[in-house]
């Protein structure tokens, strides 16, 4: 049986959808429910025209996020409140819609419903009014017509109009401000009544976490396959200098983690360079690693933290593997059939951590890296006690630059040492020319990123001019 019977609230109505496990929500709402306000313009998670709100109970609270319905498996909708643009409409334009209209943010209109949904999600979640965060909340929405100025004007106006105080009852507040329709009041108790869905586990089933990679790569296959939706259990903990992150933690949860933000001062900014808000809401750490893309950002990030993976077999046995050993050859990983990544952990030395993550892509945001890299340093005075350097986009797998790390070990920081490290790194990589850049470029870029790491972390010990 690769069908499910998902019960959820679609806008104001409770529905039960008997559909293929792998059907994506966009097809369900457009084709079966004839709710055509959500548009399809890419089906690869890149444009945001298909954005919907997905509301569900998280730690006892009803939380809404904007997600890309083109990559959202129906199996993940059970027990949720799925809100399309139609479910946000009231008799008159709501204040968000009005602001976009008044500021000239609409042209052909194909992207407009998606923007309204993303902006609504910002109001639902933002702690305080902040323009940068508002922009980031809509950065997963592309528009080919407007040049975004109309959208930006609308964002500015809305922030002035509705200063967000850290209200406990945001939902009620938004209903009063008519940003949300009244029926949202009654959703939480209605959701609570939907029984939990048991999906039988199956050895051959394809594991789906966020689905943000699977549904881009293999939508047809998934529509006809056995799927196993991995349970979401997001935990980020620190015990005895060991930081442990469960595999189902989403990248957005990661980004907003106070713990990680305190460990890595640039963390939030760095995470904003990875995918887009709605993708990060779904994409998991486990999926990013298991996917084993040579430019997977989380892989590069955690390789430089010498992370360990905790793998769990179907019958519950666990084993541990170093992340750098996990990646074998192109898209081949050390994972047995039925085995899944349970968690990732790394040891945090006493503060402050010297860590740098760098990523350069054709488009600075919401793009896959041409080359990415991370560096972790532990110093004793000016001598390197430990160094972990990783690089993506320069080999068939996310690469741990073992030789370079070995070289750096025990060296006193100097320009010469950095230059030598850069040279050794060049011997460890084998970039190929592709859409993300020529091999020549990727070599140069990795050189630059390594220099960037050092200049960022140790500006006072190095001479930029000499390194260039």
């Amino acid at each position: 049986m690769n069908k499910i019977s998902a019960t959820f609230i679609l806008n104001h109505r409770q529905v039960t959808a008997k559909v293929a496990l792998g059907m994506v929500a966009l097809d369900y709402i457009r084709n079966l429910q004839k709710l055509t306000g959500s548009k399809q313009a890419c089906r690869t998670g890149d444009c945001g025209a298909c954005s919907v709100l997905l509301g569900r109970h998280e730690k006892g609270k009803l939380i809404y996020h904007a997600v890309n319905s083109c990559l959202l498996p129906m199996a993940a909708v059970h027990g949720c409140h799925l809100v399309t643009i139609e479910g946000l409409n009231t008799a008159e334009l709501n204040p968000i819609q009005q602001a976009v209209l008044d500021n000239g943010g609409v042209q052909c209109g194909f992207c407009s419903p998606g923007f309204v949904v993303a902006m609504t999600a910002y109001f639902l979640n933002a702690q305080t009014a902040n323009l940068d965060e508002f922009v980031d909340a809509v950065a997963g929405n592309l528009c080919r017509c407007s040049g975004y100025m109309g959208i930006k004007r609308a964002l500015r106006q809305l922030l002035q109009q509705y200063p967000l105080n850290n209200s406990e009852n945001r939902l009620q507040d938004l209903i009063e401000r008519q940003i949300l329709p009244d029926y949202f009041v009654a959703i939480a108790p209605r959701l609570a009544e939907i029984p939990i869905l048991k999906t039988p586990s199956n050895h051959d089933a394809i594991m789906v976490a966020g689905g943000t990679d699977l549904f881009v790569q293999r939508p047809q296959l998934l529509a006809a396959s056995q799927l196993k939706l991995l349970e979401s259990n997001q935990e980020i903990t620190l015990t005895q200098q060991q930081c442990r992150i469960t595999a189902s933690t989403t990248l957005e949860t990661l980004k907003n983690s106070p713990l990680l933000q305190s460990l890595f001062p640039q963390f939030k900014k760095e995470m904003e360079m990875i995918a887009t808000t709605p993708i990060r809401q779904r994409a998991t750490v486990g999926g990013n690693l298991a996917n084993a893309s040579p430019i997977a950002d989380m892989a590069i990030f955690f390789l430089a933290l010498a992370a360990q993976l905790e793998l769990r077999s179907l019958n519950g046995e666990t084993r541990s593997v170093r992340l750098q050993d996990f990646f074998q050859t192109y898209k081949q990983i050390d994972l047995q059939a039925g085995e899944q990544i349970a968690a990732l952990s790394f040891s945090c030395p006493p503060q402050p951590i010297l860590f740098s993550f760098e990523k350069v892509s054709k488009r600075q945001y919401s793009d896959i890296a041409s080359v990415n890299s991370a560096l972790f340093l532990e110093l004793e005075q000016e001598t390197i006690k430990t160094a972990h350097l990783s690089a993506g986009g320069v080999a068939a797998i996310p690469l741990y630059l073992a030789k370079t790390c070995a070289y750096l070990q025990g060296k006193a920081i100097s320009n010469e040492v950095v230059k030598q490290a850069v040279n050794i790194a060049q011997t460890e990589i084998s970039p190929i020319s592709d859409q993300r850049g020529s091999a020549e470029y990727k070599r140069l870029l990795l050189r630059q990123l390594i220099i960037a790491h050092f200049l960022k972390l140790l500006p006072d010990l190095l001479n930029a001019e000499d390194l260039l």
Binding site: T44, V106, G147, A452
Partner: protein, 748 residues
């Protein structure tokens, strides 16, 4: 009262073709396309596809009753390849099945045997082999050959500008319904309803009156649906006609990107000569246009390239030659700017190269050579109401101290560099195919006083509906919400020109204006009779009320319409407009091809991260010669949107084919259009001037501002130079972060 389109869009209630609810009887069509760039079809094995449950029919060129030709402007463009395939993605057969998935599956099951022929993807190589769509054309004035000797500085160089994918958000789509008597109704996302109608009639061997094409709106067009929506509508029509069932054909993003054409890549050689002060004495340029497999609109685009070779400048000796080269890529097509951006990029590159050689800032040369009132363009037209200088000067006032601030920043920042570059603009408005400059409109007033307007303009986000409503509301002096713009439909409007060349509202607005004036004239007569006034000229309608000699009467719009109906006065009007005084003599390459020109100037500021090769376009300041705007919000949006689209062309939008002609950048994860972070802050000022040559003194706005973005390339080049003075400037757009980084660290 009707809502504006924008309101419907924001509520997700506007209908695009894919939103139309289809019945279960609807069949779905999908093309079997060529997987090779050039070859002969030896055999196609359809067996497995035919055997697939749910496949209803398969059609090939052999099933076409009429002509297997879909080219508007030329022959040699087949709907379905009959013998020879010319590019990867060319339809060879059409699968018709009960679901879209089945149709695609069927296509995948077909086995095509080809005899592979040599494929060429580069324009210069095609040129070498004599593969031309048409013989080269040359526009010239003065005598460049004699002028070189007077020049103090001569610089030669080569430029490349890349293809650009339209990424209209709504991908190609059509629905075809069989009607009685052999008729067909098409709901198509096309910028050219009449051409689509004409081609379908031609292919199916039917009179045009049996084919109705209706267009409600497009989710973006940008030129990509001017010629290239026809293929999909015609395939759907063929399938519907043959099966006598409704048929839908919709392309996914990656199919759309792989099967359809793009902005033409150009390669060019330039030679520019100046006197010691920087006055341009001579400019010679040769353009190699990569047309792709067939002519499509390439020759018209090439012509516009020639018209804009000289940019915004007066150059006494100029010789521009252009040739359209045939390659084995999907046929390149119209894209906002229509060959002009490619031409202006070369002109600006030449100026930049000259400035470099002379040790000047390019702006010094730009400013000295701007067109003046009364100058003659090299194609024989006189510059009237020339505002190149006025916009340049007004912009300068906003740049005071800016260059100085940038110089200081660059002195104090080793790893970051800023730069500012300017782009003056002059863009001719009219279809250069003179006969296309015509439009008609049909206006009805219903007995409740509400108004319905049909015309040839297709709404695709450019706001033409808003503008037409503004025209009608102004002429009739009624509230805008009384007016509705109908879908664009070939049964209401015959023989319409495509909505293109920025002049959809110019042409159709004039037609609407004339129709409304006709109605107004008869309504005044009705009012005069009703009010017993003999002097009709004393009657005026203002804000839905009749005035006599500036005195308000009790007669309202609604009452007046009621009286008109009761007195058996026609409440419908049809009007026609043809742009006056335009002509072009191709034997002399001279004439008056444009109704007028749009001018303006932009200043683009960038910041470059010299460690990583990343950059940000910080700010763009624009002075734009927009006439008296019919809708300021629309015009501002067009300028902002065009600018950012142009910025994409010059920065992150890189089209990459592999060696066998397969598109590698075939989805939005590979092909990067600007996102909100890539978009700069844009500040626009208008030159408040009249434009007697267009409706109610307005000016066309759709295409010209795209070319402001050309300054992005040169700002980046300056920033690179500030970091690496050794860099040998190259002119190779887009200036991707890759090229920037390599330039920053290139040692000669």
């Amino acid at each position: 009262m009707s809502h504006s389109d924008a309101v419907l869009h924001l509520r997700g209630e506007s209908i695009f073709v894919d939103d139309i609810v289809v019945t279960p009887e609807m069949l779905h069509a999908f093309p079997l396309v060529s997987t090779i760039a050039h070859g002969l079809i030896k055999n196609i094995d359809f067996q497995a596809a035919q055997a697939l449950e749910g496949v209803v029919a398969i059609f090939t060129a052999a099933n076409i009753a009429g002509e297997n030709q879909i080219g508007n402007a030329s022959v040699g463009e087949e709907l379905l390849a009959s013998r020879e395939v010319l590019y990867v993605g060319q339809p060879v057969a059409i699968m018709v099945a009960k679901t879209p998935e089945l149709a695609k599956q069927a296509a995948a099951l077909c086995q095509v045997e080809y005899q592979i022929l040599e494929a060429i993807f580069n324009a210069r190589i095609a040129d070498n082999k004599g593969l031309h769509i048409a013989p080269p054309r040359t526009f010239a004035v003065g005598n460049v050959d004699n002028a070189w000797q007077d020049c103090a500085v001569i610089v030669e160089g080569q430029t490349e500008s890349g293809a650009q994918e339209h990424v209209y958000f709504e991908t190609q789509i059509a629905l075809a319904y069989p009607l009685e008597n052999g008729g067909l109704k098409l709901l198509s996302a096309t910028q050219s309803p009449s051409f689509t109608q004409k081609i379908i009639a031609r292919v199916l061997n039917k009179p045009m009156h049996l084919v109705e094409v209706d267009v409600l709106r497009l989710g973006g067009g940008f030129g990509g649906k001017e010629e290239q929506a026809t293929m999909w509508a015609t395939l759907a029509a063929l399938a519907a006609d043959k099966t006598q069932q409704p048929v839908k054909l919709a392309l996914s993003r990656s199919e759309d990107m792989s099967f359809t054409g793009k902005r033409h890549p150009y390669s060019a050689d330039f030679k520019i000569g100046l006197n010691a002060q920087g006055k341009i004495l001579a400019y010679q340029v040769k353009f190699y246009q990569n047309a792709g497999a067939t002519a499509d609109l390439s020759l018209a685009i090439l012509e516009r390239t020639l018209f804009h070779a000289g940019g915004s400048y007066f150059i006494p000796n100029l010789k521009a030659t252009a040739v359209s080269c045939q390659t084995h890529l999907p046929s390149n097509t119209a894209f906002r700017g229509f060959g002009a951006p490619q031409a202006m990029f070369v002109m600006e590159a030449a100026i930049f190269a000259a400035a470099e050689k002379m040790g000047l800032d390019a702006s010094v040369i730009q400013q000295q050579n701007l067109l003046s009132e009364g100058d003659y363009f090299y194609y024989g037209m006189k510059a009237e109401n020339a505002r190149a200088k006025a916009s340049w000067q007004q912009l300068q006032q906003r740049l005071t101290g800016q260059q100085q601030a940038i110089a200081e920043f660059n002195c104090t920042h080793r790893l970051e560099k800023k730069a500012l570059a300017l782009m003056p603009l002059c863009f001719g408005i009219a279809f250069t195919a003179t006969f296309l400059n015509q439009a008609s409109a049909l206006v009805h007033i219903y007995t409740d006083g509400s108004v319905s307007i049909s015309c040839g303009a297709v709404e695709m986000g450019q706001g033409v509906k808003n503008k037409l409503i503004a025209v009608a509301a102004r002429v009739l002096s009624i509230a805008e919400n009384r007016i509705k713009i109908e879908s664009t439909n070939t049964t209401r409007i015959a023989n319409m020109s495509p909505t293109a060349a920025s002049n959809g509202s110019d042409l159709n607005g004039q037609a609407v204006l004339i129709a409304c004036q006709q109605l107004l004239a008869s309504l005044k007569k009705v009012a005069a009779e009703a009010l017993n006034v003999t002097d009709i000229d004393a009657i005026r309608i203002q804000q839905e009320r009749v005035y006599v000699k500036d005195v308000a009467t009790d007669l309202t719009w609604s009452q007046l319409i009621g009286k008109a109906y009761m007195t058996r006065t026609s409440l419908s009007a049809q009007a026609f407009y043809a742009t006056p005084d335009i002509y072009f003599d191709r034997s002399k390459e001279s004439g008056n091809p444009f109704a007028y020109h749009v001018y303006g100037c932009a200043a683009v500021e960038v910041t470059l991260d010299c460690l990583r090769g990343r950059y940000q376009v910080d700010k763009v300041r624009i002075v734009h010669d927009g006439g008296q705007s019919l809708d300021l919000k629309v015009d501002i949006g067009q300028i902002e949107g065009a600018l950012v689209q142009g910025l994409g062309w010059l920065t992150s939008e890189e089209i990459i084919f592999d060696d066998s002609g397969h598109l590698k950048t075939n989805d939005l994860s590979q092909y990067k259009i600007p996102d909100i972070y890539a978009a700069p802050e844009i500040e626009i000022e208008f030159l408040n001037s009249d434009n007697p040559a267009a409706v109610l003194n307005s000016k066309a706005v759709g295409e010209p501002p795209l070319m402001y973005a050309i300054a992005v390339y040169f700002a980046l080049a300056k920033a690179v130079q500030a970091f690496n003075p050794d860099w040998q400037t190259v002119y190779d757009a887009p200036f991707t972060p890759e090229k920037v980084l390599l330039a920053l660290y290139r040692k000669i």
